[in-house]
Amino acid sequence: MPRSEVCLLIIFTADIIKKEVISMTVDEIKKEIRAFLSKYIREPNINEDQDLFASGLLASLFAMQMVLFIEKKFTIKVENEDLDKKNFATINALASYVSHKTSSEKIDR
C-alpha cells in the first residue's frame, strides 16, 4: 500500500477511535479505568472514591503509566494545567476528568 494511503488509513482509524471515545458514557469510561487499574493495583475491589495514591496501592511509576493510559485509551492530551490531584486521585475523579476533556474536544470539533 502506498505511504500516502497508509497515512490516510491511520488518520481515518484515529478519527473513528476518537468518535467512539467521545460517545462513551461515564460508566463506560469507569469500566475502562477499572480494567487498566486491575493490571496495576494491589486490591481488586477498590472503592470508586478511594484515593489511589494515598492508599499506597500503587508503585511509584504508576503516575506516568496512568498519563500514558489516559492519552492512549481516550485519545486526549493530559496538559500541564490538568496536573491536579483532584483529576487523578480516584476512579470517580478520573472518569469525570476524562469525560470533561472528551466533551470539551467534542465542542471544539
Binding site: K39, S60, L61, M64
Partner: protein, 382 residues
C-alpha cells in the same frame, strides 16, 4: 513484537554510524583524558539535529523513539560522555515539552531543539541519590518569584549547561523549576578526576537563595517528581539503556579485533576456549540487550503504559551487560587493557557509571521485582 527496523530507520542508523566512526570514536580517549568534549563537536551534534531530535514543533528532526534509540546506541559506542549530553539535554527538553507551560515551551524549546541552549537535569544532591523523593533543596515563595536554596551534585554537563531543571521541595512537595546559569548566587563548580564519564563535564551546583521568576515553575507544585522528573527519568533510562548497548558493541568490536591479532602460546586468542567463552557471552549479551531496547522503543512509539517498566528492564539488563562486557574486554586485553593505548579501559570505567546513573541497578531490581510480584498476585502473567 517486530524487532526489525524500517528502511528509513536503517538509513538514519547508517548516518549515525558514520558520524560516530569519523567524528567521535577516534577522539573519545583524548576527550576522556582532557575531561571535556570540544565545543565544536557539541556544535556539530547540534547542527545535525541530534540534540533536539524529538522536538518537531521547534524545527527538530522529529525522530521516533526507536530511531532515537539507534542514535543513542551509536553515540554510546563512541563516547559515553557524549551520550550523557544527549541524555540530560533530552531529559530537560522532553520534560519541558511534556509539562511546560505554553510560554515556557515557546521561550525555551526552540533553543533546546537547535542546541543553542544546553540543558542539564539537577535532581541528585550530596546526601540524596536513589532516595530522590527526599531531596533537600528548598524553594520558598517570595512575591512573584521563588528562592531556591540547596546543593546539587553529579550534574552531567553542568559545566556547560545554560538551563537547569532543578527538582526542589516547595511547601513540602517535590516541584520542578527552571534555573538559568547566570542567576545570581548560583555557583557552578567542575567535578574532576571521576572514575568514568570524565568528559561529561559534571558539576556541583550551590544554590544560595537563587531567585527565579514564578513562571519558571514547571508543571505544578507536587508533581515535580512523579510527572516532571518521572518523564525525564524514563527518557534518561531509555537513552542509557541504548547507549549501554553501544558500549557493549564497542567492547565486542575492540575485543574481536584484538583476539584475532594477538597470539599467546602460538595461537591467536580467538582460538583459546576460555577467551571464546567470554566473547560469546559478550556477543549474546549485546544482542539480547538490543532487543530489550527495541521493545522499549517500540512501546514508547505506541505510547504504551508498559513502556515505562520495559525501559527499566532494558536499562537494568543493558547496563549490567555493558559492565560485564567491559570487564571481560579488559581481561582479554590483559595488561594492554589497563593502558591508554586501547580504549577498553575507558569502556570499563564508563560502563560502571552506566550501571549507576538514572537509577542504579539495585533500584531497577527493586522496581522490576515489586512490579512483577504485584502482577503475579493479581494473576497476570509477567
Amino acid at each position: 513484537m517486530n524487532t526489525e527496523i524500517t528502511g528509513t530507520q536503517a538509513s538514519m542508523h547508517d548516518e549515525f554510524t558514520s558520524f560516530v566512526d569519523k567524528e567521535i570514536a577516534p577522539h573519545a580517549d583524548k576527550w576522556d583524558q582532557e575531561e571535556r568534549i570540544p565545543a565544536e563537536i557539541i556544535g556539530e551534534t547540534a547542527r545535525r539535529g541530534y540534540l533536539g531530535a524529538f522536538l518537531p514543533e521547534c524545527g527538530g528532526v522529529k525522530m521516533d523513539m526507536t530511531t532515537y534509540g539507534l542514535l543513542c546506541e551509536e553515540i554510546g559506542r563512541g563516547s559515553a560522555s557524549l551520550l550523557s549530553l544527549l541524555t540530560v539535554h533530552g531529559m530537560v527538553s522532553l520534560a519541558l515539552a511534556r509539562w511546560g507551560s505554553e510560554k515556557q515551551r515557546e521561550r525555551w524549546l526552540p533553543g533546546l531543539a537547535s542546541g543553542e541552549i544546553i540543558g542539564a537535569f539537577a535532581l541528585t544532591e550530596p546526601d540524596i541519590g536513589s532516595d530522590a523523593r527526599n531531596i533537600g533543596t528548598i524553594a520558598e515563595a517570595e512575591g512573584n518569584s521563588y528562592m531556591l536554596k540547596g546543593e546539587k551534585k553529579w550534574i552531567s554537563c553542568g559545566q556547560i549547561a545554560d538551563l537547569f531543571l532543578i527538582i526542589a521541595r516547595f511547601d513540602g512537595k517535590p516541584t520542578a523549576f527552571l534555573l538559568e546559569k547566570n542567576t545570581p548566587h548560583l555557583k557552578i563548580e567542575p567535578m574532576k578526576g571521576l572514575l568514568g564519564f570524565r568528559s561529561a563535564m559534571l558539576a556541583h551546583l550551590s544554590l544560595d537563595n537563587c531567585q527565579v521568576p514564578s513562571e519558571n515553575l514547571v508543571g505544578k507544585a507536587g508533581f515535580g517528581f512523579s510527572h516532571v522528573a518521572g518523564t525525564a527519568l524514563d527518557f534518561g533510562r531509555y537513552c542509557i539503556a541504548c547507549g549501554s548497548v553501544g558500549l557493549t558493541q564497542a567492547c565486542v568490536d575492540a575485543t574481536l579485533k584484538y583476539a584475532c591479532e594477538r597470539k599467546q602460546g602460538g595461537s591467536y586468542l580467538r582460538d583459546h576456549q576460555l577467551i571464546q567463552e567470554m566473547l560469546a557471552e559478550m556477543i549474546a549479551g549485546s544482542k539480547a540487550a538490543r532487543l530489550l531496547c527495541r521493545k522499549a522503543g517500540s512501546l514508547k512509539d505506541l505510547g504504551d503504559p508498559e513502556s515505562i517498566m520495559e525501559t527499566c528492564i532494558a536499562k537494568y539488563f543493558a547496563s549490567r551487560t555493558s559492565l560485564k562486557a567491559a570487564t571481560d574486554a579488559v581481561q582479554i586485553h590483559g595488561a594492554n587493557g589497563c593502558g591508554s593505548e586501547y580504549p577498553v579501559q575507558r569502556y570499563f570505567r564508563d560502563a560502571k557509571i552506566l550501571e549507576i546513573i538514572e537509577g542504579s541497578s539495585q533500584i531497577q531490581q527493586i522496581m522490576i521485582s515489586k512490579y512483577s510480584a504485584d502482577k503475579e498476585r493479581r494473576g497476570i502473567n509477567v
